[in-house]
């Protein structure tokens, strides 16, 4: 249930402002790809740090037991809920949480996930209306840079803001975990890139798995070698460039054979903190990831790259998020109350 929307509904339901236009049943979109992933294909550069100086395949050895026991994922949902005087107002929900795998191999929640729901709109245009209401409103315009007055532009900006909030929640949750477990033998596996902002921790036990290959870091000859990786092989270690966050070490790893499939089938890009330990552990971490292939995350369509505990995390977060039906119901009542 969304408390926020219900509060909004009851506070402005009886305002005699004819300019509120409720939108019922619009799409409640789920952002499936992890944050920090570019939305459009692009190229970037990389610096190879593999001692051989090459990207060429390296066998990682036979997988046995995974060293990960904590798993982090985030999610976001957003939806256009109304226009006020022609200005779109988006409802957004974001969350990030950690699941723990016990000695019994079962998955448990590690504390409550961090969540945030808010309305997203250009504050300067709707200041008066939400003023005084005890509601979380996020301004989609950055200070001093007004957007053009176009509903679609506002919607795009809202989308970006919801994603930012999700990234922020993920970073918070990760930091909390690091604060709790730094110096222990526990390892955290996160969905997507790791931010790399771990200044106070020289060698944090954190690894990210990137499933999308929107950014290509190498020229075509090297890229071919990556595409030709076989199961159990990784690429050479490199530092992805062109990111506006601290450097991390990265490598490609083939989880499932791609015969008869897309070239990228079963291919992930792994990120780990930029430190010597990563260089020493790159094969071991790769073996851990290979071990995580069972159980299979079917029926997820991205099962070739989606690791089961990450999917578990995702399911967990989804089960707590407000559903489309609930939002529909609130909005319907809201609309009826006004009509």
């Amino acid at each position: 249930m969304s408390k926020l929307l219900r509060k909004l509904a009851s506070s402005i339901a009886h305002q005699a402002d004819p300019q509120i236009h409720v939108v019922i049943g619009s799409e409640f979109s789920d952002e499936e790809s992890p944050s920090l992933v570019p939305a459009v294909p692009q190229t970037a550069s990389a610096e190879i740090v593999e001692p051989s100086g090459k990207i060429d395949p390296v066998p990682v050895g036979t997988p046995n037991t995974s060293g990960f026991s904590y798993f982090m994922d985030g999610m976001e949902r957003r939806r256009l809920v109304m226009y006020i005087s022609g200005i779109p107002v988006v409802y957004g929900y974001a969350a990030a949480g950690i699941r723990w795998r016990g000695a019994d191999k079962r998955m448990y929640a590690h504390g409550d996930p961090s969540e945030r729901e808010a309305l997203f709109c250009p504050r300067r245009l709707l200041e008066q209306l939400f003023f005084d209401l005890d509601i979380d409103v996020v301004d989609i315009e950055d200070a001093g840079s007004a957007l053009e007055d176009h509903p679609m532009i506002f919607l795009e900006a809202a989308k970006k803001k919801v994603s930012d909030i999700r990234s922020k929640l993920e970073a918070e949750v990760t930091s909390r975990w690091l604060a709790e477990f730094d110096g222990s033998n526990e390892w955290l596996l996160v969905d997507g890139s790791i931010s790399g902002n771990y200044d106070q921790y020289p060698a944090p036990n954190i690894v990210g798995v990137v499933k999308s290959h929107q950014t290509q870091y190498f020229p075509i000859e090297d890229q071919r070698k990556i595409q030709a990786l076989r199961v159990g092989e990784r690429s050479g270690l490199f530092i992805p460039k062109g990111r506006n966050r601290p450097d991390v070490y990265s490598w490609y790893l083939r989880l499932w054979p791609n015969e008869g499939q897309d070239l990228h089938f079963g291919l992930v890009r792994v990120e780990a903190p930029k430190c010597d330990r990563t260089v020493r552990m790159v094969d071991e971490i790769s073996r851990w990831l290979l071990a995580e292939r069972a159980p299979l995350s079917m029926p997820d369509s991205r099962w070739d790259r989606m690791l089961y505990p990450i999917r578990d995390c995702e399911q967990f977060l989804r089960s707590r998020a407000p559903s489309k039906t609930v939002l529909d119901a609130i909005l319907m009542r809201f609309a009826a109350g006004r009509g």
């Binding site: 037991t65 079962r106 292939r293 069972a294 159980p295 079917m298 029926p299 505990p309």
Partner: protein, 662 residues
């Protein structure tokens, strides 16, 4: 933020903290999905995977702030997020020995059939709510026992309630009448504990039923019911059995008052039972019926094809105008009191017709008379041991039945037709005496094992089946109740089991469970019945809207085979020994040789037995003298001019002296 469910859960727990019957034993939560929606009659809930307190048959309460739905678990499922076995196969590389890094979440869901909802109106689907194990009070409510437990409740077993055992009562008004009646027990021989269950319930009835009641048990198999008054062998019962007895308020003892009845073997001196060990045989009363007792039931003992309308008319004439009367035939006075007399009467009649060249006698045709004579005179030969040719009658104590007493009638070794006669006559007499309020007790339970043999679903329509049907349809108004048992309920006459208000099921055969009568049970319940351990039963009772599983203790009663081992049956005695032994019951000092001599002097065995039986009934001062003088000089069919020396009336029950004409 998104935490309404938590808030409402805590509201619910505060609500329940205030009530008595719901403890902190929450074990699950109701779920409702499109595929498995909740209705007013069933609901689904999930539990933790490690919860060992829930299983098929568990009683639970789904309790929302406004309603309580009591249910019994009838089906369980468990599943994981695995959609296809292929996914597992791929994930583990086709190697079942490989261990996955993560266990898939496994959820246990149960389906519960609703037993009762509070408030009862309006009838609505069970709400989504926390689910608790029912405690004692909850069990009583769920089974609607709160309305009769303290008045007409008969404890029959214990419901396993988490670690506790809660007594389960059934309502005597629905077990022993008048609202409903009868008990039927089904299950595999030797595993279903049918006989033991009936014994235990009888013990409980004796302890808890408020009115007077007696039991007539027909022992139809070996030594099953022949040691009801002896405790079980040591070590048979364990602490658990004793504890269950005490929880159910039933003394852990055998029956206190048991009386045994058995017919004679064809030799008419040795009893046709396995309870013949010298230590026990004194407690067995012979079952021996004469002409009076049998003539009422000629339909049972004569082949039906034999009794046409003409024969029927003659039999009726004999009943009305010949038996127990002194009549004149062909100028000769004759009093007919027994089969021997009747034979003589037939002789006189036929001689009259032959001498006077009549083709009819009092409108009865010669051929009919011959036929009826032939059939009736055959009876005492055919049922030798049960039907006595002479005036000796020994029977159940009609009119003097005692409260809390078990009358065991051993028919195990009788041939089927004789069993028919015994059942039919005893039940008719019970019925007749109850109707007129003259039995001595107000309620009688008739116990019949192997019901599928005596009241089969198909097969010829026998008097016995009619009799059993009659009890089951009308008995409850009279206080005549049938407790029956059989291996296969599907093989018993439908209306008989159908009229049984309370039904118990022990370990069942899978084939039997596949018959249409069990369609109402879920497959999990069937599965449970097919693997039910000894001492556990499923009960259906009018107050329970769903079958309930209970445990009951081994009764502290010697099992038949143990009884036989401890008290081996005696060898059959020769005639003189049997006579001596019987007479020495009257006076232990009588001379064996003297009795042996009298027996040796008398050539007619029937006459010896007749004299012995008369002596036993008379209980004279000097048994040997009485025995000697009771022997008539010549036995068999007496000559017409010879008057019967003894005319015994109703086995002396009217106080007349059987020796009056001596």
């Amino acid at each position: 933020m998104i935490n309404e469910p938590h808030t409402s859960a805590s509201n619910e727990s505060t609500f329940f903290a205030k009530t008595t019957e719901i403890t902190d034993r929450q074990i699950g939560r109701v779920i409702a999905t499109k595929d498995k929606p909740n209705t007013a009659y069933e609901f689904y809930f999930w539990t933790s995977c490690d919860d060992a307190s829930v299983g098929i048959g568990t009683l639970v309460v789904a309790a929302s702030p406004k309603t309580r739905a009591y249910g019994v678990v009838v089906e369980g499922f468990s599943f994981t997020d695995l959609e296809s076995p292929l996914h597992e196969y791929i994930g583990l590389n086709g190697d079942p020995r490989m261990e996955a890094q993560t266990s898939r979440p496994e959820v246990r869901c149960y389906k519960a059939a609703v037993l009762r909802v509070e408030p009862e109106e309006p009838l609505q689907p069970v709400p989504v709510a926390p689910v608790y194990l029912a405690d004692d009070v909850g069990v009583a409510k769920a089974l609607r026992m709160d309305s009769f437990q303290y008045t007409t409740g008969i404890p029959v077993g214990l419901y396993q309630n988490g670690d506790e055992l809660s007594p389960v009562y059934i309502d005597s008004e629905f077990l022993l009448g008048p609202e409903a009646a009868h008990l039927n027990v089904t299950g595999v021989s030797g595993l279903a504990t049918k006989t033991s269950a009936i014994e235990f319930i009888l013990l409980s009835i004796f302890e808890h039923f408020k009115e007077d009641i007696a039991v007539v048990c027909f022992n139809v198999k070996g030594s099953d019911l022949l040691f009801l008054d002896y405790p079980a062998e040591e070590n048979m019962l364990d602490e658990r059995d004793r504890k269950m007895h005490s929880l159910l308020g039933v003394p852990c003892e055998p029956f206190r008052n048991v009386k045994y009845f058995a017919p004679f073997k064809p030799d008419r001196v040795n009893l046709n039972t396995l309870r013949t060990n010298p230590e026990l045989v004194q407690s067995v009363t012979p079952l021996s019926w004469g002409l009076n007792e049998v003539l009422e039931f000629t339909e049972v003992v004569l082949n039906r094809d034999d009794i046409d309308a003409k024969a029927d008319a003659l039999i009726e004439f004999i009943r009305q105008r010949v038996i127990n009367q002194t009549t004149e035939v062909n100028g000769q006075q004759i009093t007919v009191r027994n089969f021997q007399d009747l034979n003589r009467w037939f002789d006189l009649v036929m001689r009259d017709m032959e001498e006077n060249n009549k083709s009819e006698w009092k409108t009865h045709h010669y051929a009919t008379i011959r036929k009826v004579h032939n059939r009736l005179s055959n009876l005492s030969t055919r049922y030798k041991g049960l039907i006595s040719p002479d005036e000796f009658v020994s029977d159940l104590p009609w009119g003097r039945f005692e409260d809390r007493t078990v009358y065991v009638v051993d028919v195990a070794n009788l041939e089927p037709q004789a069993q028919d006669l015994v059942f039919t006559r005893i039940v008719s007499e019970l019925r007749h005496h109850l109707e007129t309020g003259k039995l001595g007790v107000k309620h009688v339970i008739v116990v019949v094992d192997e019901l599928n043999k005596y009241a089969p679903a198909d097969g010829p329509d026998t008097y016995l089946r009619q009799t059993l049907l009659d009890i089951s349809e009308r008995g409850r108004y009279l206080g005549l109740v049938l407790f029956s048992a059989q291996q296969f309920r599907s093989q018993v006459h439908k209306r008989i089991v159908g009229n049984s208000g309370t039904c118990i099921y022990g370990r069942m055969d899978m084939d039997e469970l596949a018959t249409p009568g069990y369609q109402v049970l879920t497959s999990a319940t069937k599965e449970k019945l097919a693997t039910l351990p000894k001492g556990q039963l499923m009960i259906r009772h009018p107050h329970f809207t769903q079958p309930i599983f209970v445990k009951f203790p081994r009764p502290n009663i010697m099992r038949g085979p143990d009884g036989i081992r401890r008290y081996p049956p005696a060898e059959d005695l020769p005639l003189d020994e049997a006579v001596w032994l019987n007479l020495s019951r009257l006076d232990p000092s009588i001379s064996r040789n003297e009795v042996r001599d009298i027996v040796a002097e008398t050539s007619d065995q029937d006459e010896i037995i007749r004299a012995m039986n008369l002596t036993l009934q008379r209980v004279p001062q000097d048994p040997v003298a009485a025995f000697r003088s009771a022997i008539r000089k010549k036995a068999g069919v007496l000559s017409p001019e010879e008057k019967p020396s003894i005319a015994i009336k109703d086995a002396g029950s009217d106080g007349s002296d059987p020796f009056e004409t001596i």
